[in-house]
């Protein structure tokens, strides 16, 4: 009976420790992100921070000479309006495209369309922002006769195009996960494909589709450069899709460079960061729980 050399046992243990450490690192990074963002914002959060003003006042005057005010209601309204419009466009189109790719087209087309979706997802957000600025802006001004085309509509369309790929690919996965026996049973009863999709597949895959929508929302809420460039710079609560707005993410990106380190303004921007982190964390967690619900069944 031959035993392993001692160094081999030791190196095995060492490499396993390294691998475990790398596995744990993902958790460390998420905690690290929260910790360091929190750390920078903590100074103001515990001294002088007024949650009532922060959440319910639309007055965002971080550099006012007379009285600074840090109300993010208008910014939240900006994020919500752009995200809502984006989802109103992206959800039907995304789910529709997922159904088409998964159920209506042949294998060759399917492969081609999936590649196209992948490429669409790869376009950098700053390029989308540039498209909003140079293509959509004049287009909106011409079609609707408004003085400026950098508004909720512009940002919403850009964000919709950005979040559609994720909805399609996760939605398609969800439809693929429905067992073929469901399809066979439905088709054996003489239904058409549309009836099968509407009556069998969508109810069976509804959790996966919901997760796809949630991930799309998460993407849209967190998007920064595209909305910074495409929605104009107006801290107002929008009353129509032709109003310019500013989102939470765009505010941080636009003002962090000018706020002196450790000033109140700087710390408030980190508090907005905590808010964004929390929102996307909850959205992603929910999506994950919804998907896990599907798997367990």
């Amino acid at each position: 009976m031959q035993t392993r050399p001692r160094w081999e046992i030791l190196s095995e243990a060492a490499i396993e420790a390294v691998i475990r450490l790398c596995g744990i690192s993902a958790i460390l990074f998420v905690f690290g992100i929260f910790f360091f963002v929190f750390r920078e914002g903590a100074g103001f959060l515990f001294a002088g921070f007024d949650p009532k003003e922060f959440f319910f006042s639309p007055e965002w005057y971080p550099t006012s000479q007379s009285r600074v005010r840090y109300g993010v209601l208008a910014l939240i309204a900006g994020t919500v309006s752009v995200t809502a419009l984006a989802m109103a466009l992206a959800v039907p189109f995304g789910i529709g495209a997922a159904v088409f790719v998964s159920e209506f087209c042949g294998p060759r087309w399917k492969e081609g369309l999936k590649i196209t979706i992948e490429l669409l997802a790869a376009i950098p957000s700053v390029v989308w922002g540039f498209i909003g600025l140079t293509v959509m802006n004049p287009l909106i001004m011409q079609i609707f006769g408004v003085p400026i085309g950098l508004n909720v509509l512009n940002g919403g369309i850009i964000l919709a195009l950005m979040s559609v790929p994720i909805i399609v690919s996760i939605g398609e996965d969800a439809l693929k996960a429905v067992p073929d026996s469901y399809r066979e049973a439905a088709l054996a009863l003489g239904v058409t494909r549309w009836q099968m999709v509407y009556r069998v597949l969508i109810p069976a895959a509804k959790n996966g589709l919901l997760a796809a929508v949630l991930l799309g929302v998460g993407r849209a809420v967190g998007e920064t450069m595209a909305v910074l460039m495409a929605t104009g710079h107006a801290v107002t609560i929008p009353s129509s899709v032709m109003d310019s707005v500013r989102t939470l993410t765009a505010t941080v990106a636009a003002e962090l460079g000018e706020a002196p380190v450790n000033s109140e303004h700087y710390q408030v921007l980190f508090i907005i960061g905590i808010l964004l982190f929390t929102i996307t964390f909850i959205v992603n967690l929910t999506a994950d729980l919804v998907v896990r619900g599907v798997r367990r069944r």
């Binding site: 081999e8 490499i15 396993e16 390294v18 691998i19 475990r20 790398c22 596995g23 744990i24 690192s25 993902a26 990074f29 998420v30 992100i33 360091f36 963002v37 750390r39 920078e40 529709g96 495209a97 088409f100 790719v101 209506f104 369309l113 590649i115 196209t116 979706i117 992948e118 490429l119 669409l120 790869a122 376009i123 950098p124 957000s125 700053v126 540039f130 498209i131 600025l133 140079t134 293509v135 058409t192 494909r193 549309w194 009836q195 998460g218 967190g222 450069m225 460039m229 941080v252 990106a253 962090l256 460079g257 980190f270 960061g273 982190f277 996307t280 964390f281 959205v283 999506a287 994950d288």
Partner: protein, 294 residues
């Protein structure tokens, strides 16, 4: 032959309507990609040349080329790749080969999903707080690359995990049976057999890292930095740098009176590079899948 009843006719009619609607929705998704890319190329065509790539920006970025931002992006991508790849691959090895189905494994998986979902601007805040200020790296290429590495790591983890999972269990069992240890099996059987998936992940990481703007804006990238033309090692690890994505943002929003061809050219170079890298990943995947022996 059966005679079509009104019922079957109506059924066939809704079927074709549904088909048309779904097709329309898919086309509406593909069309923008084609239109936008061709429009950008059309606008940028006059300026695209080798000189445009190799000249530094001049006259307050209103003339010249994009050498300095291009070089900066290459630096950022390579350094973030070097940091993210080993950690990402080993994390995937842990998740697929070592971890049992426990609450801990689920937490790690959840953390990976969340890491991918954290908004890019929050990554920027994190990079500023952790690397620039806390670790004392200052605004530098290193701090920006570390931020990018953490941001893009989930891409590598996800595709490596998928590749490892597709290696049949029997391969591992055969290797264990001849007396190999866990790590020897991974090193000599599992990793070589999943190299294509890992490469795909790395390539996708490159494309993601090249396109990001927000995370590097406050951690290392600057509006303008003068570097000598034609030198490959113009930036040091602790220097600030220009980057293509940031340069596009700067010249399209921050600098007045830029000739319109310049931002279009920058956008096309950035977009072209990202799409080319992604196409490479797709080609590689299709090719290696066709050669798979099991």
């Amino acid at each position: 032959m059966f005679q079509a009843t009104p019922f079957t006719r109506r059924k066939g009619y809704t079927e074709s309507v549904a088909r048309a609607v779904f097709l329309f929705m898919t086309v509406m998704m593909v069309l923008p990609l084609v239109l936008v890319v061709s429009y950008l190329f059309y606008q940028a065509w006059p300026i695209l040349s080798l000189d445009f790539l190799l000249e530094v920006p001049r006259q307050g970025m209103r003339a010249g080329g994009i050498w300095s931002p291009l070089l900066g992006t290459i630096y950022l991508v390579i350094i973030s790749l070097v940091i993210a790849t080993p950690i990402g691959v080993l994390a995937a090895v842990f998740l697929n080969e070592y971890a049992r189905d426990s609450w801990f494994t689920r937490t790690v998986n959840l953390a990976v999903v969340n890491l991918a979902g954290v908004p890019s601007i929050v990554h920027a805040l994190f990079g500023l707080g952790a690397f620039v200020l806390f670790a004392g790296l200052g605004k530098s290429i290193l701090a920006a690359s570390l931020t990018l590495a953490i941001m893009t790591m989930p891409v590598i983890i996800a595709s490596t995990k998928e590749a490892l999972a597709s290696v049949p269990m029997s391969f591992r069992e055969a290797c264990w049976n001849v007396g190999a240890t866990r790590w020897q099996t991974i090193r000599h059987v599992v990793l070589p057999n999943s190299i294509s998936g890992i490469l795909t992940g790395i390539i996708l990481q490159v494309s993601r890292a090249a396109g990001e703007t927000a995370p590097i804006m406050f951690t290392g990238a600057v509006f303008y930095k003068a570097i000598p033309e034609g030198r490959l090692f113009a930036y040091g690890l602790f220097d600030q740098c220009m980057a293509l994505s940031m340069h596009l943002f700067t010249i399209s929003t921050q600098v007045p009176d830029v000739p319109p061809a310049l931002p279009y050219g920058t956008a096309v170079v950035l977009l072209g590079a990202v799409l080319a890298v992604n196409t490479l990943a797709i080609v590689l995947r299709v090719y290696l899948r066709s050669r798979k022996k099991w």
